[in-house]
């Protein structure tokens, strides 16, 4: 049985590509989108957080969502982007960079379109997914729950 | 000139910052409805600087509008203590606090 998430207004989302699949995340938490910058690797660090980057003088951890979602990690290309977000980590506001193979656009998704449908085969942890929406009346989009991803990634 | 009847408003119990907004409303209302306002403070058991300040403001308003506002009787008890602390006897408005009603 699907439950409908009732959000109060049309939600702005950022669409991105990871390992060939399209995902979306809440645009409200996105502060900027960067081209690929030098990444400093952290030896013996967690697999999903391979390195650190410099964002306007701030040292920001870089997260590879593909690892968290159990997907294949392709090499970086000219399309690779880093999405800088502000989110809560252990209840503390933290700046984090998300590695994306491709970034599409910021767009609106309206509330009826976000439904929690188990019909689509879930190959990745269900708790990371906020819901599925239909994008421009066309493709299905998986809307990620960033907070959930970070609270369980430890 | 038709003279309006004197409006007497009485304050009793606490007249502190906690009652300040209400006190302000009552004073404004009284001044709006008459040219003579008498304030009876004999029932005041506790007061603070907001009340004294309010009286000063009311006095200024009355003066500006050509009206009269007076105490029913010279200040007593807690009110007297408070105005004494403020050095009312040394100020320009001492008659307001220490003479009370003039008619």
């Amino acid at each position: 049985m699907g439950t409908v998430h009732t959000l109060q207004k049309p939600v702005e989302i950022l669409t991105l590509g990871l390992a060939g699949e399209a995902f979306a995340l809440e645009a409200g938490i996105v502060s900027e989108i960067l081209d690929l910058v030098p990444i400093t690797l952290v030896p013996n660090g967690p697999k999903y957080a391979p390195g650190l980057i410099n964002v306007r003088g701030k040292v920001v951890p870089l997260i590879d969502l593909r690892v968290l979602l159990g997907m294949e990690q392709a090499a970086n290309s000219i399309n690779t982007r880093i999405i800088v977000i502000e989110t809560l980590l252990d209840n503390e506001p933290t700046t984090i960079g998300l590695l994306a193979d491709k970034v599409y656009e910021v767009t609106g998704i309206d509330l009826q379109a976000i439904e929690n449908t188990p019909k689509v085969g879930m190959t990745w942890p269900a708790e990371y997914i906020r819901g599925i929406g239909r994008h421009n009346g066309g493709d299905f989009l998986i809307v990620l729950d960033i907070n959930a991803i970070f609270s369980s990634a430890k | 000139m038709t003279s309006t009847p004197t409006v007497v408003i009485g304050f009793s119990g606490e007249t502190t910052i906690r009652q300040a907004n209400d006190i302000a409303e009552r004073l404004k209302h009284a001044l709006a409805s008459s040219d003579r306002v008498e304030v009876d403070c004999s029932g005041v058991t506790e007061t603070d600087i907001t009340f004294i300040q309010m009286m000063v403001a009311a006095h200024k308003s009355a003066l500006a509008a050509g009206k009269v506002i007076e105490l029913s009787a010279p200040a007593r008890g807690p009110l007297l203590e408070a105005v004494t602390l403020c050095g009312a006897e040394n100020g320009p408005r001492s008659h307001f606090w220490f003479e009370g009603r003039t008619s």
Binding site: P38, I53, V59, L89 | I49, Q53, N90
Partner: protein, 690 residues
Amino acid sequence: MANAPDPIETFRTEARELFELLETTLLDIEANPTNKELIDSAFRALHTIKGSGAMFGFDAASGFTHHVENAFDMLRKGQLAVSHELIEIALAARDHIRTLIEEPDAASPSEGEAILAQLAAVIGAPPLSLVPQQTQAKAEEAKELHTFRIHFRLAREALSMGANPLLLLKELQELGTCTTVTVTDQVPPLEELDPCGCYLGWDCILTTDQPASAIDDVFMFVIDDMELKVDVVEPEPKRLGEILMDRHELNAKELDTALDQQPKLGSMLVDKGLISPDTVAVALAEQNHIKKEAEKTAKADSADIRVPAKRLDDLMDQVGELVIAQARLRQLANSGNDVHLKSLVEEIERLSAELRDTTMGIRMVPIGSLFSRFRRLVRDLSRELGKEIVLTTSGEETELDKTVIERLHDPLVHLIRNSLDHGVGTPDEREASGKPRQGNIHLSAIHSGAQVLISIKDDGRGIDPARVRAKAEENGLIQPGAELSDSELYQLILLPGFSTAAKITSVSGRGVGMDVVKRAIDSLRGTIDISSTLGKGSEMTLRLPLTLAIIDGMLIRVGEGRYVIPLSAVEECVALSAEDDLRATGRDFLNIRDEVVPFIRLKTLFKVDAPPEEFQRVVIVSAGDMRVGLVVDQIIGDYQTVIKSLSKIHSSVQTFSGATILGDGTVALILDVPRLIELGQDSETQKKAS
């Protein structure tokens, strides 16, 4: 209004300072019972707590304090004498008042009554004094009277924040003879008045025998947000014209014009032939001079300013950013040929270094403020344990960052308690071993290079290496028969789950908590050294880095990655020849100038998959007495860097204490030297243990 500071919390913060002052003063009075200034100071502190407590609604505290204040008033007047008992009661009273203010629900009324009963008994009893009777009989010196002109005005929202001007006026009037006038010119008409706002000001002329500080004390809890002007006034009656001028009702010009129309006293006298014009001139000059002198000494402008801690944190962050940006600028300038640019960049570098030093200095506070808090602890605890122990200190003026000092409090309390409980013996025990009955704990602090060394030294029993070994073996921390030096043994005390306490006393509680101390010092990026001589005493030395945020670092390369080593930890660098490298394969130590040094190949530690390079180097780092050699591929150079903490995602990765941004904009990780040394030692110890 959601973000307005809670007035009760503000009061509590201010009160905390008063409590500390009161405690120190009481202890000082015990040591110097004839010092009148100390007694006055304690009285004034109690008086302020009483008054302001009432103002903020702490009626129980205020009422209680009133009694203690009375006792000190009697002390002041010589009607009561200082005694150990009185100080004891006063200290207990101070604690009780503090509870009443900080945790009113936890206060016990019966405890308060008991203290007051004891106080009454002491007051009623014939004076068994610390002071010989003769000096008490000395009449009180006639106190000098001063007249002050006080003008004050509270902030608009002060009343809704709990300020009570009537109480303030009452306090002032209690200081002496006071004439008050309320200034009402800023009160708007009723229609425009905010009933809860404060539009009034007050002018008071106060003649008192108290110093000006007593006036400041009255306003202590509202001082942050108000206008206060205190001027000394000559006690002789002033002429009307002067008074009007002083109150700014009249300006000099107006006064002069009016006076000009009046014949001058001086000229009148000269005309009458009574005095010469020179006499008048001299007298006028004197009059002016005294007036100017009085003006000069009247105002004591506070040289201090309170700043919210967050603003300082922000400032430090910004200075940090500036340091980074300036390093990048330097790199850019150095890569070019513009001479003017280079010299300008050097200038900016100098300025930012100065700014950095000044900013670092703002938060530096002498450690003495921390040391003095422990006097009471030692006094009370040693009594409780039936021991005689005195705390001495040195190096109180040594400065540390304020936050570091705060974080040192608990670890130091632990260490002192240890010495008190386990280290120093009872007077009888000490006498039996030929020591003086009174034991000593000595706290000291000193700067050493880029570090601060804080030591806690006692002249007690010392640490018994045999007992430590036995306990360590018992708890499986080392193998029986393992070879360890005494200092290595002592370091085991810092491991969790270790305890040599034969019995648990109420003082230290379960175990010794040394691992908690170690963790606290680790988090300050410091180390603990332990040394001891059995029968003579022990010494714990804390080594802490001096600055928290900006360090001088050495940039090194391991594989493709670059890392920073805090320069203060670097002892030396040596080359690692290919043969040495081969010789060291499969071993854990290097032979460097015939000295054996444990080493770590960072390439291996960081799991870098690359062939060994030709010109590797070994950076030998140390923390305390221990060293380790770090094998790196290249030493790039020195860098002044700002330490940025790692987010929770990476902070648990061992061996890195933070990150920084290099001149070219990339991120470099900062190596955690104490942790690396532990790793190096671990392999050593493990080797010995196996």
